[in-house]
């Protein structure tokens, strides 16, 4: 789901810029009447969106204030469910885990994406399309299939251990997703594998819009390819870095599919994430109020972190 959240939060600029253009239309009909009939075009989309996304979202807010098992009459809980989230160590830790995942879903992929971009820019022409298509491929697969594949790669007899044996690190082989200390890291690295190509594709798109004369100028000043990247490409893709940060952060915080099929929260809750607990509380344990409250807290964290990402990577100019 997180993959379709591919955008920043502000409305498109182009639309605002054209706001003043209304007077230019021929005054055949009064703008007011046209505006009213125009609603007919927006209404179907709005109805579906309100009915199947916004209405349930508001209902989740209401449910979060109740004690309800989904069957018997609900009782009022006030903010009790919220208090519980911060007192129940399992729920609290799940939130921390999802914050740790940001490192693997967001920070490292942005770094790897920048590396891929640097390598694919400039001299490399041959095979460019091939590398782009391959690097982006993990991004289009259902995460369930990705999870099942990696479960096997990480297993006792899996490819990861086979490789470690081969390079003489046989001593550290283990069932990675079952390791109490390292399961979360192992899970996170699957996210790195999935997200790096997305970051690369965003940066490449941004880099293509950079004025070539900037590179010429840098070359004349004697800058090598590394310094050109550092001083021309990097500032040029600033906006794309923000976007990548937003998308990948949401994917980390709201992760569910991968965790569900790889570890299901184990070992001993070490890879619990809020999405998994929302599902489990609501549909296995019948604690609808708790599940809803956790979903609301998760949403608040997503909005807060996304705002922070946008704030810290904002354009100074």
């Amino acid at each position: 789901m997180a993959r379709e959240l591919t955008s920043s939060v502000s409305p498109p600029r182009a639309v605002e810029a054209r706001g003043g253009g209304r007077a230019a239309h021929p005054p055949a009909r009064s703008p007011r009447r046209r505006g009213a009939r125009g609603w007919l075009y927006v209404l179907p989309a709005l109805a579906v969106y309100l009915g199947f996304a916004i209405w349930p979202a508001l209902n989740t807010l209401r449910l979060s204030l109740l004690t309800w098992d989904g069957i018997l009459p609900a009782t009022w809980a006030g903010f009790g469910n919220y208090v519980e989230i911060f007192q129940d160590s399992a729920l609290y830790e799940a939130i921390l885990h999802s914050l740790v995942l940001i490192i693997f879903f967001s920070f490292i992929p942005i770094g790897v994406g920048l590396l891929m971009t640097a390598l694919l820019m400039g001299k490399v022409r041959r095979g460019m399309t091939f590398f782009r298509v391959v690097f982006f491929l993990p991004q289009v697969l259902p995460l369930v299939a990705v999870g099942i594949t990696w479960r096997w790669l990480y297993s006792d007899a899996g490819v990861v251990n086979q490789f470690l044996d081969l390079v003489g690190l046989g001593a550290i082989t283990r069932a990675w997703l079952g390791d109490y200390q390292l399961a979360l890291v192992a899970l996170g690295l699957i996210g790195t594998w999935v997200m790096s190509g997305l970051c690369m594709m965003l940066f490449l798109t941004g880099a293509q819009k950079i004025d070539p004369s900037l590179y010429e100028a840098a070359k004349l000043d004697g800058a090598g390819s590394f310094r050109q990247f550092r001083h021309v490409t990097l500032p040029g893709v600033r906006r794309e870095i923000t976007v990548a940060g937003v998308i990948t952060t949401i994917a980390a915080l709201a992760s569910f599919d991968l965790v569900f099929v790889t570890t299901n929260g184990g070992p001993a809750g070490q890879t619990n994430v809020p999405g998994l607990l929302v599902y489990r509380l609501a549909f296995n344990e019948g604690d609808i109020g708790g599940a809803s409250a956790l979903a609301v807290v998760l949403t608040v964290i997503v909005v807060a972190v996304v705002s922070a990402v946008r704030y810290f990577t904002r354009d100074e100019s």
Partner: protein, 271 residues
């Protein structure tokens, strides 16, 4: 200089290998005899294709694939048509309150599905839409609506104003302007949106897991997610099942590679 280029290619190839090894692993695994124990990457003694038939039968794949296709076949046109109409209303007709409305749609891009899915289940249960294709189709259309409206609105607002005005002077009404002028020049944008919608619909997991209890009407990924629980140790079988489920999306990706990538990147950046 020459050394620099080979170093570049060296790192690129290394990265490509790291991306591709999991695929190689799962393909090789699927070609081993059913039920065999595997040790890392290994070439099977004899290529065995039975896993695909076995996975298809045991995984109830005929039903799963049918559900996935059925849902996508309704979700994609429905969402694209609604998003196109709304984008037109917001960008060209500039309905009363279009800025607030645009903002309300765009807001939806940050809402995690977790916020929606619990209450949605109980809301749909009240009206008898759980365990139903209709419920899933409408829910997916709603989830994808923020992106689609935003996408079509941005696209339409970049269309030269003169085109629309010329059509109006010729006496074209709103619907004709959309159908005869805007849609024909917007096929690339509409194709891209359709391809993205197909991918999201095909890959959707949590929503289907919650809304669809009937095993015969689950989608391919959600069926796969439960299949793995029953066959944890039979890696060749699981590998084959994975490959069956990812095949359609990989084909779509390779066919529409260009619009795919431009969709995801432009969609993300245009804001």
């Amino acid at each position: 200089m020459r050394g620099g280029v080979s170093l570049r290619y060296g790192v690129l190839v290394l990265l490509a290998v790291m991306i591709l090894v999991p695929f190689a692993g799962i393909i090789l695994a699927a070609l081993h005899p059913p039920g065999s124990q595997l040790n890392g990457l290994s070439i099977p003694d004899q290529w065995s294709w039975e896993n695909f038939t076995l996975a298809w039968e045991r995984g109830n794949m005929t039903a799963l694939m049918r559900s996935s296709l059925l849902i996508a076949v309704f979700v994609v046109p429905l969402s694209v048509v609604l998003a196109t109409l709304a984008g037109y209303g917001l960008a060209i007709l500039r309905v009363w309150g279009h800025r607030t409305l645009s903002f309300a749609f765009v807001m939806g891009l940050t809402l995690p599905i977790e916020l929606i899915v619990v209450a949605l289940y109980f809301n749909l249960r009240e009206v008898g839409l759980t365990n139903s294709y209709v419920g899933i189709i409408l829910a997916e259309a709603a989830l994808f609506m923020p992106f689609g409206v935003y996408w079509m609105q941005t696209h339409f607002s970049n269309v030269p104003e003169e085109l629309v005005e010329a059509a109006r002077i010729d006496g074209a009404r709103d619907l004709i302007v959309l159908a005869r002028v805007l849609v024909p020049i917007s096929w690339p944008a509409i194709t891209t949106l359709s391809v993205l919608y197909f991918m999201w619909s095909w890959n959707q997991f949590m929503l289907v897991l919650v809304m669809m209890q009937d095993p015969d009407r689950r989608t391919a990924p959600s069926g796969l997610g439960l299949f793995v629980g029953e066959h944890t140790t039979d890696i060749p079988l699981l590998g084959a099942a994975c490959l069956i489920v990812i095949a359609p999306i990989v084909v779509v990706y390779l066919l529409f590679q260009r619009s795919f990538v431009s969709g995801i990147t432009q969609g993300a950046i245009k804001g």
